[in-house]
Amino acid sequence: MTRPLSAPLDVGFDYTRSLGPTLGRFLSDLRRRKVTGIRGSDGRVHVPPLEYDPVTAERLSEFVDVTATGVVRGWSWIPEPLEGQPLDRPFAWALIQLDGADTSLLHAVDAGSPDQMSTGTRVRARWRDERVGAITDIECFEISDEPADPPVEAEAVTMVTTPVNLHYTHSASPTEDPFLRGLMEGRLIAQRCPVCEKVYFPPRPACPVDGVPTTDQIELSDRGTITTYCVVNVPFLGQRIPPPYVSAYVLLDGADIPFLHLLLGVAPEDVRMGMRVEAVWKPREEWGPTMQNIDHFRPSGEPDAPFDSYSQHL
């Protein structure tokens, strides 16, 4: 059996974080080459500072200066750093208890070799030259008995940006696979549920009503009816088609469920529910395993379908 088709799916966004009073103070101080903790109800000094006490859940407010030097309490060697990690050469992730703190901070140690790392190793912060008010203002820790660089003045920060990038491989299901391979040949392959005999396009692994595999394969024409639609006038981040455009539900002749596609070749104000449409395919050499082989639908010129012929698909 051949492997189902797959394609990369990359999702990324620069999220922002409004910091509030506690993390705002912590990150503003990092920008000043200072590390600040907070005292909990039991007297422990938490670094990074906690906004709410882990024992009483009350808001905490007693900030405590700690030093940018400390001791390794636990560590793990990273022989091959990944995208987005603090260093691009082998390093240690370590739990570091800073002097004056009662809890440990997770950060990177640029130790060169795991032979240099042990529980109890003394480390100090290596401050980045360009600091923005982020945990990465500490570039990493380094093994040393010496004090870290002294504090300087800097503006406070109230917000940070945290880019998140996820890289997936999206695989088609075994049922979708013949559908997608059909699209590469300009064919529209649907599947029929053996129980309710409803025809699904695009096909599903199982009928959502009966829960059984949809085994019967049938080929549909590229004509259909607009059941309902909207005119998208609003631009938004990540949009692939410039607005305005008509996003329409197309019910192919012989199918029992409509799908969303683009409707062109008609002014938005002239689009109607029940309008008959036909597919406009891209040039054959641009075809791939995607519904985008159909560039858009356009009116076919046939008379509108009567409301009763599609009203059960709304």
């Binding site: 922002t16 409004s18 009483t56 859940a57 998140v164 996003s247 519904m291």
Partner: protein, 380 residues
């Protein structure tokens, strides 16, 4: 099943950007108000239930994990609920079930969204390989179904604008609402930009930062109580052949179960106020029908007659509803909490006179998750 009641509610001042607080601080603003309203402290809380919409909205996986201390959950059971936009309602129902079942005596339910940290429209339109990228956020998803409703019910075009104007005027009476537009009119709504034809800008919910919390208890803690007379939740697939997208079966089934459990035979006569999840104005008449307040195709007539205004036969969204504040994950719990405030008589300027029975309603996903409760001033 033993009786349970909402004994305290709290919410944030909702806004487009609450840049002054962290996610933890946002939740605590609502929690601290709910606990003060209930007259309880942390030792009185047995368990915490957190609701939030998709993690992609803030880009925080498992927010319940990093919020555990802020939610006062250390040493207690903490549950995360997730049913898309209906999650706030489901969170209330899960918390209620923990008390009704006798598992816990007092449970804190919290729900939040900090939409300013991301872009929900982007998060709801991630392009899946092999498909046609016509998606356009929630508005683009729901607009074709609104068009179907208008056609099926032969509803006049101005109904959507009437709902929007009413809810925004109501929001102006709610000190916590994000949008306060006391001077909005049907004409000004109709003059606003068409975003996803047939949905206009003023008929669309805002994007809000906010949180809501309720304390649910087996016994009153401070004298006030909104007794939970019924809860219901139902689900259906997003798409299947023959699915009714205008009047989903899951919503009908949930409503039928809800009214039966509450002992209500004529909802329109027996319910004094309704907080219904209406993120786009036309969903008011659609859900009035789906919930059984009117016959099919008749919901818009109740709206047109002014009966859903405060002072009408069935005031809908006296708080201003989702159209006035939409911290997505919290929006459902806000509906539930506002219903409780109505029967406790604590709704202030948007109080419905003499409200004794109220509905809280939420829906989510592609109209596939439904959660609702009925609260009353009398102990069942």
């Amino acid at each position: 099943m033993r009786p349970a009641a909402v004994v305290g509610v709290g919410q944030t001042h909702h806004a487009a950007k609450r840049l002054d607080v962290s996610m933890a601080g946002l939740c605590r603003e609502a929690i601290d108000r709910a606990m003060a309203d209930a007259g309880v402290d942390w030792s009185d809380i047995d368990a915490v239930v957190l609701g939030k919409a998709p993690d992609l909205f803030e880009g925080v996986m498992m927010p319940e994990l990093f919020l555990a201390d802020a939610l006062g959950a250390v040493g207690k059971p903490l549950l995360r609920v997730h049913t898309a936009g209906s999650v706030g309602g489901s969170t209330g129902n899960v918390a209620a079930s923990l008390v009704q079942s006798g598992v816990h005596n007092r449970v804190l339910a919290v729900a939040f969204e900090k939409q300013s940290e991301s872009n929900a429209m982007w998060a709801l339109s991630v392009p899946t390989p092999f498909t046609m990228p016509v998606h356009a956020g929630a508005g683009g998803y729901f607009a074709p179904h609104v068009r179907s409703y208008i056609r099926r019910a032969s509803a006049p075009e101005h109904i959507g604008a009437m709902v929007a104007a009413k809810d925004r005027r109501n929001g102006a009476k709610n000190p916590y609402a994000h949008l306060k537009q006391p001077d909005i009119t049907v004409e000004s709504v109709q003059a606003s930009t068409m975003l996803w034809d047939p949905i206009r800008y003023d008929e669309t919910c805002p994007s809000s930062d906010g949180a809501c919390a309720v304390v649910i208890s087996a016994e009153p803690t401070s004298g006030q109580a909104a007794w939970i007379r019924a809860t219901a939740m139902r689900t259906e697939p997003t798409t299947f052949a023959g699915r009714d997208q205008v009047n989903p079966q899951a919503g009908q089934d949930a409503a039928r179960a809800l009214w039966k459990q509450a002992g209500i035979t004529d909802p329109l006569s027996e319910v004094d106020a309704a907080e219904i999840y209406v993120p786009f104005s036309w969903f008011e008449p659609m859900w009035l029908e789906n919930l059984g307040f009117t016959d099919i195709g008749q919901g818009w007539k109740l709206t047109e007659a002014g009966e859903t205004e405060i002072g009408g036969r069935l005031p809908v969204n006296p708080s201003g509803g989702v159209l006035s504040s939409n911290p997505i994950g919290a929006s459902g719990l806000l509906r539930f909490a506002e219903a409780a405030m109505q029967v406790m008589g604590t709704a202030g300027d948007h109080q419905v006179d003499g409200a004794r029975v109220a509905l809280g309603h939420a829906y989510g996903g592609g109209s596939q998750f439904f959660a609702m409760w009925v609260v009353g001033s009398e102990k069942p």
